[in-house]
Amino acid sequence: MKHVISVLVENKPGVLARVVGLISGRGYNIETLNVAPTHDLTVSRITMTVPGDDRVLEQVTKQLNKLVDVIKVYDLTGEKFIDRELALIKVQISGRNRSSVMELASLFKAEVVHVHHKSLTIQIVGGSDEIDNFLELVRANGIVDVSRTGVIALGRTEGKE
């Protein structure tokens, strides 16, 4: 089971290391990690995807709550939430497949952000599954390089999260 954990923390040096250390110190792998200040510049949001069973992640969530610099922890798994990820994908092209790659990109509302005579760099924004799907479809053309941001997420509830 993959958990999406969203943590509001004080925007101070060392806080990210504290949060990440707590999880990695227990032997879990953080698959994706994002951190940036929120609309309140004293508060940062850390979004992580962490694989692990529910019981273990419940404990991790409680432990995160214990950290002095942690303001609030949300385990969004099982809740309704909006998640987005951005990826830059460099695809190998030849004269023959250039247009088919561009066509595929437009179907995914992706954007070609750089053109080289041997490659196209495509920017795609969407849910992680959508990006996985796109990658699968362009794989046959030859993927040169990929950079993904990992998930950022917000709950769908009316209130603050």
Partner: protein, 573 residues
């Protein structure tokens, strides 16, 4: 305007610090220069690990926040074991370390270590002070965080230039941290549920841990037990939270707990944990722990709830206030049948050893310490067999009279912790019960006891082994005593002792004590125990009593690791 060092001194004064344990060094010279005139008792330890354990022992014995001070780099890294020890046992202390000047941080400067990075997993919180304006607030916060909620160690790392810089920032009167608000009051509905569960239970059991002592809730535990006829077992760190001389006391439970406590845990229908954390040394095999019971758990730390054992009735908050709120809702009762069953177990299975043995049995020494101090000493221990015998054969009736490293199991803890405890409690006899292995881990601190005339009594049960490991090797590794024999004779071939002929035990603890300026006494036979201990306890100064005990005595009962509490080995027979 005040310098960083002046802010620190003022902050420590405001926090009520009376005693500081530590060692100087290059990065804290400015602090030491001011300490020369400051109104604190400064205890010069000989190793920073010793200083942290002293602060720890001081905190455990006094209930106040312990304070220690070390320089950057090796000074700071030497505190790590002490901080981890305090963290595992939830002991409030503030550790101040010096750091190289801010512009040099990260440059591998002389005596630089990323101590906030290193201690992150073993402290409740830590700070690297980057700006002197933050320092007054940080000092106040550190003491607040160390002492409130689930207590723990806090480290403040202060670069040398920050110590020298000036600020007009005042020391705050109150602390308000946006992200830190520990829950203190228990939820009334959960308290009502717990009261109902207690009232309905036929075979309830209170399982009391160190949290009841940290939360100063011993009186409330006793009131609850007596009102409703609830038998009480404690963890190692819970010893003293309930008088072990009381008819309702079952003594300690777990790996080396009493048969009665372990049977009662197995057969109870309601287990009420009060400030205990279901450590694996207590539970044994989790799936067979208290199999017939509903489990209630009172704890200030929400993450302690259902961490290892699923809990039916969680009550999060301060133990003392929860018990006070609970008491009026609990019915009076005797629970005659359950108590008769417990009395029968108690009579049949007391802690026992070969009392007729002509050899000097370690358990006998502990019983003599109990008898001579009338159960009123502060007992501090190292870690190992002697620790468990100290738990089994001395009866604790007051909180903060048993001081031991529970969670981390730190050999070398006892001696410096005893110094801290004795400074906190000058009115008490403080005895460090030690093994010969543990005694060699921080013996250098005896000098501190001598210099400051801190009259601790160190009783070494010398069995020539790292005894607890040897016991495991005896029981589970076919008596292959690999690297556990401390005397040179009979060492394993792989250990390559070159001069076995006429080999003696090293060191000679009596001479070692004398070399440090303490009184050294040796006991070689049972008949010498009482008189020697009397001499030690009446001597006005630190004493080392080396007792040459039966080498292969074992700690029983013993629940093998991972077994159920009912699967106790009760003797070799």
């Amino acid at each position: 305007m005040r310098t960083g060092v002046e802010c620190l001194i003022d902050g420590l004064k405001k926090a009520g610090v009376k005693t500081i344990f530590g060692l100087p060094g290059g990065s804290v010279l400015d602090i030491f220069n001011k300490l020369y005139h400051a109104p604190f008792e400064f205890i010069l330890a000989r190793h920073e690990q010793g200083a942290t354990h002293m602060a720890d022992g001081y905190a455990r014995a006094s209930g106040k926040v312990g304070c220690c001070l070390a320089t950057s780099g090796p000074g700071a890294t030497n505190t790590v074991t002490g901080l981890a020890n305090a963290n595992m046992d939830s002991i409030p202390l503030v550790c101040i370390t010096g750091q190289v000047p801010t512009p040099m941080i990260g440059n591998d400067a002389f005596q630089e270590a990323d101590i906030t990075g290193i201690t992150r997993p073993v402290t409740k919180h830590n700070y690297l002070v980057r700006n002197v304006d933050e320092l007054p607030r940080i000092i106040a916060e550190a003491f607040h965080i160390a002492a409130t909620g689930r207590p723990g160690p806090v480290l403040i790392d202060i670069p040398k230039d920050v110590q020298r810089a000036s600020t007009s920032a005042p020391t705050p009167d109150a602390v308000d941290i946006r992200s830190y608000h520990p829950t203190t009051d228990g939820h009334p509905k959960q308290i009502a549920r717990l009261a109902e569960a207690i009232n309905k239970a036929a075979r309830p059991l209170l399982y009391v841990g160190g949290g009841a002592i940290a939360g100063n809730a011993a009186a409330e535990v006793a009131a609850l037990a007596h009102k409703s006829g609830l038998p009480v077992t404690t963890t190692l760190l819970g010893l003293g939270a309930f008088p072990e001389t009381d008819a309702l006391a079952l003594r300690m439970l777990g790996m080396h707990g009493s048969v009665t406590a372990n049977y009662a845990t197995h057969h109870c229908d309601l287990l009420v944990s009060i400030g205990a954390r279901f450590d694996d040394r207590v539970t044994g095999k989790i799936s067979e722990f208290a199999p017939k019971a509903r489990i209630a758990h009172i704890d200030i730390d929400p993450s302690a709830i259902s961490k290892s054992v699923p809990v039916d009735i969680p009550v999060v908050g301060d133990v003392k206030s929860i018990l006070r709120a609970l008491l009026p809702h609990v019915d009076s009762g005797e629970r005659k049948e359950w108590r008769e069953q417990i009395m029968a177990w108690k009579e049949k299975h007391p802690f026992s050893y070969d009392r007729d043995s002509k050899k000097l049995m370690p358990q006998y020494v502990i019983e003599q310490i109990y008898s001579l101090t009338k159960g009123e000493a502060v007992i501090v221990t190292e870690v190992g067999q002697h620790q468990m015998w100290a738990a089994q054969y001395y009866k604790y009736t007051q909180p903060r009279t048993f001081i031991s490293s529970g969670g981390l199991g730190t050999m070398g803890f006892g001696l410096p912790a005893a110094i801290g405890a004795q400074i906190a409690r000058p009115d008490k006899i403080v005895v460090d019960i030690s093994g010969d292995g543990s005694a060699q881990m921080n013996f250098q601190e005896v000098v501190v006891a001598v210099e400051h005339n801190v009259p601790i009594k160190i009783v070494i049960l010398n069995n020539g082994y790292l005894g607890m490991v040897r016991q495991w090797q005896e029981l589970f590794y076919k008596k292959e005593y690999s690297a556990t024999r401390l005397g040179q004779a009979e060492r394993g071939k792989n250990e390559n002792i070159k001069t076995k002929k006429g080999a003696k035990y090293l060191p000679d603890f009596v001479r070692l004590a004398e070399a440090h300026g303490a009184l050294g006494l040796r006991v070689e036979a049972r008949a010498q125990v009482e008189a020697t201990l009397k001499k030690a306890f009446t001597h006005d100064g630190p004493v080392v009593v080396e007792c040459m005990v039966e080498p292969e005595a074992n700690v029983y009962p013993m629940v093998p690791a991972g077994a159920s509490l009912t699967e106790m080995i009760q003797s070799m027979a």
